[in-house]
Symmetry: D2
Subunit: 286 residues, 4 copies
């Protein structure tokens, strides 16, 4: 939409509306299963000339029109929003996974959309590579993945082909744990580096990145099937399966009960998080 | 709470619950008007050992217990959550204003809490100084401000006294526009620099920072009373006060109407955002 | 040169050499006073395919050819290198002011070049706005300034017009203190924001930025003429004007003398850096 | 030295001098082979109260005293400076490898010092993990390595145990290529994460990190022995082994010769950097 949904000129917004209508009509004809709203321009360059509250409302109303039109034409496809924090804008409303979820919840749109996560955008928002995939999944909102990457020391959108096996393993583990991405999937929205000027580079890049994800998938399957790391995590949270912990889990505990529990049981012991142990075991699968 | 609400050991969580109960009892005795839950440790150091979905639910249930106990004892004070993105954790759930709002909405807590924004945390989340104050206000959730600052080139929490008049002006303008912060306020959660070792430095720092906010307030009042910048912004969004724009504003427009509008009116003209003009006028008030 | 001096193909490097020869011939005809070598592409995208030691030597030898040709044609102009840390490359050799100075010293080129500092590049290298201007000046190597800026929360090259009076004041203070920039100067290598689409925006931006520097210059002159801050700094370093301090300053002190001094004088007292006092006084000039 | 060498009070500097003298005397008794000057506090918190030129000179003179005293007592150990960009200071003079090299060259100290690189500091300076090891080695100045790490999304000094096999491979490859580090070595200046509270965590962390470097070393050896990647790099730079390229390499080429070469040979062809191919092959060794 290129910033149209938050444009201060309703003529521009109407133009974007006409385009989205056209897009949905074509999606219907093609039998599309996913329809991504790329959030990469919905935001502002300077707060001086911007009415944020008005723009958020316009954006929400714009999405509601798309939802209505999808219903009207009987289009059965998943709507997806792709978070992106900034660039080209100074700030974009779809900053990261949780920002988008907050926006959708605020405007009652959470049942009509899922998220399409691009890890390169995740790192630009100050998170680690796998973070938004994990968070979207934890909120039940992970719909699809744009599987390109940046470099940790380059803080703009480089859209590189993903070549890091460790990162791919973490991603595939999360996707397996939530039972897959269907109807979404992994999509290469990547481009070769500017100096990769041979035609064959495009093929090499796709093959290398697919191999990376294939190794990540295999690693993740072995981690889950071996059950060592999942078992350690399960143990770590096991105090929530009974007694006062179970009541917290179910939402029936009270502060008074907690005080009573502490009066009876005294101060808690310190328990190690054992991060280096997890990291060392994880490395055995890489 | 020091990470207790998301601790995998329910004994630790219960201990935190007992502490918060005590805190609320004391707040009641003191006639407290605000009660801040500092989000600075609710998060994780590594995804390897963490069940994010479980932790988010525990954190929500913990807050619900606090809300219930507040009601039970008849405590009339504003609950506030203070976003902080990271440090000491790798990732904290209360990453920024919109993250916290998304969490509160997801768990039905949005009427029981407002936000206490610290701009130093805002910049650590990758935003500009005034950003979370603006965003929290746009969502109607700005309750109070911890008015300390960092340096743009230092990406950890330095808690400096705010001395930038431009930033203070933007902050005060947002606060005036939403009608103040009551029962919250501006709070210096700052400390002098490590090399400022004289007793008088503490006084100088407070005076210098208060002067900065006083100048910011005066500048903001003049900006609003002069009406030049507010008028330019109002004009910029004026197409939403009538016709198809008004229908977008009210949420009654449809994609089909938008398509019709474009068929009748053709392509939109490009309109300048005039950022440099806004910046130049703004500088006249500094 | 667009990366040519460090290109692994000497045919490309030769092409760049021919271009620079042409540029110098034209500079001669035009009576140029400054000739900038923009370092923005001399670097690498990946260490996997790069021989850093070879590239540094090639770059040095390339600059030496330019120096020789300048002498040969009797061109009397200042050669300048403009540091830029990254973008488009992952790493560029001219990362910041001190990196370039280190390179020039290593290859014996320090008398043939000065630096052209762009503060937007300085902030991309992780420093504060004024930092490289200060550092280049401290090393006696500040030759000219590209006076555009970025935003602290945008970590790529936005080339905005500078509008921050505080930053402009710090810059002009450094330039005055070193006795000016001649034959260099302040140059706007900036562009208007992407949404500033009116022709007049270009004029407004130049006027606004020039006004910002004019205010910065006036502030800096007042700071220097008042003498309060310069006097405080002079006092702070006054122990180096006599006794053991003077010997350190002159390079004639020894560790043995220092040990003797401490044996006679005992542990040093803690002295406050008084940063907040400096900041508060500085604010009076803004 | 904790900032003492750049302290504006010569009494503090003298105290540091006495301490360093003592340290050198003890190093002599212990038969020390390396002596590290940690640069982590030599810098400034605010430019307002700082005379950078004076501090650089004091720091240089301080190092010269240490060199003289080392000679005087006949101590045969390598002096090392450890770059660190910031934290606790806003800016530290030993920002990164090339900054330190520039400083040493400027003051004629380059034959008396080498560099002790900590990759966690390298990433804080905006570079990739392996960068300063590569750069120090390219300048012939790599003396030792503090092998701890940070996380790419945490921009302060976390001193974690290194667990990334890819990074360890790049590091060991550079060290092998320069013929080792002797008399320096790999040193764990790391600490376990704050939540790793068991005694055994310290052992697990050391074992996991040593295993990581062992795998990195094996990977690097195979990369070098296989010769595929080294051969590709050698080919890439092969045009500098004859003709005009060789003259550039030897420093005997001129701009006029380059122009002649282009007149005879025409425009250069574009050659792919083949980054994705390098990355894919590299992944086979991980």
């Amino acid at each position: 939409m290129n910033g149209a949904a938050t444009n201060p000129d309703c003529h521009v917004l109407a133009y974007a509306g006409a385009q989205v209508k056209k897009g949905l009509d074509i999606a219907q004809k093609l039998g599309a299963q996913n329809f991504v709203f790329w959030g990469g321009r919905e935001g502002f360059l300077t707060i001086h000339n911007t009415d944020v509250a008005a723009e958020l409302k316009h954006m929400a109303n714009f999405f509601k029109m798309a939802v209505k039109y999808r219903e009207k034409i009987g289009l059965k496809c998943q709507f997806l929003i792709e978070p992106k924090p900034k660039e080209p804008c100074k700030h974009q409303y779809d900053y990261d996974a949780v920002s988008v979820i907050g926006f959708l919840k605020h405007y009652g749109l959470e049942n009509d959309f899922k998220l399409n996560i691009e890890p390169n955008h995740t790192t630009l928002a100050g998170h680690s590579y796998e973070h938004d995939v994990v968070m979207a999944s934890a909120f039940g909102m992970l719909g699809s993945v744009d599987s390109n990457t940046g470099s940790p020391d380059q803080e703009w959108d480089t859209d590189q082909f993903p070549m890091d096996i460790r990162n791919a393993t973490l991603l595939m583990k999360t996707i397996i744990e939530q039972g897959g991405l269907q109807p979404g999937g992994l999509n290469f929205d990547a481009k070769v580096h500017s100096e990769s000027t041979d035609l064959e580079d495009l093929f090499i890049a796709h093959i290398g990145a697919m191999d990376t994800f294939a190794r990540g998938l295999r690693n993740a399957v072995r981690i889950i099937e071996d059950g060592i790391i999942p078992g350690m995590v399960k143990d770590r949270y096991s105090s929530f399966s009974h007694g006062i912990g179970q009541k917290v889990e179910e939402g029936s505990a009270s502060l008074e009960e907690m005080e009573d529990f502490i009066k009876q049981n005294g101060e808690p012991k310190v328990t190690s998080g054992k991060q280096e142990k997890y990291e060392s075991i994880f490395n055995h699968y890489i």
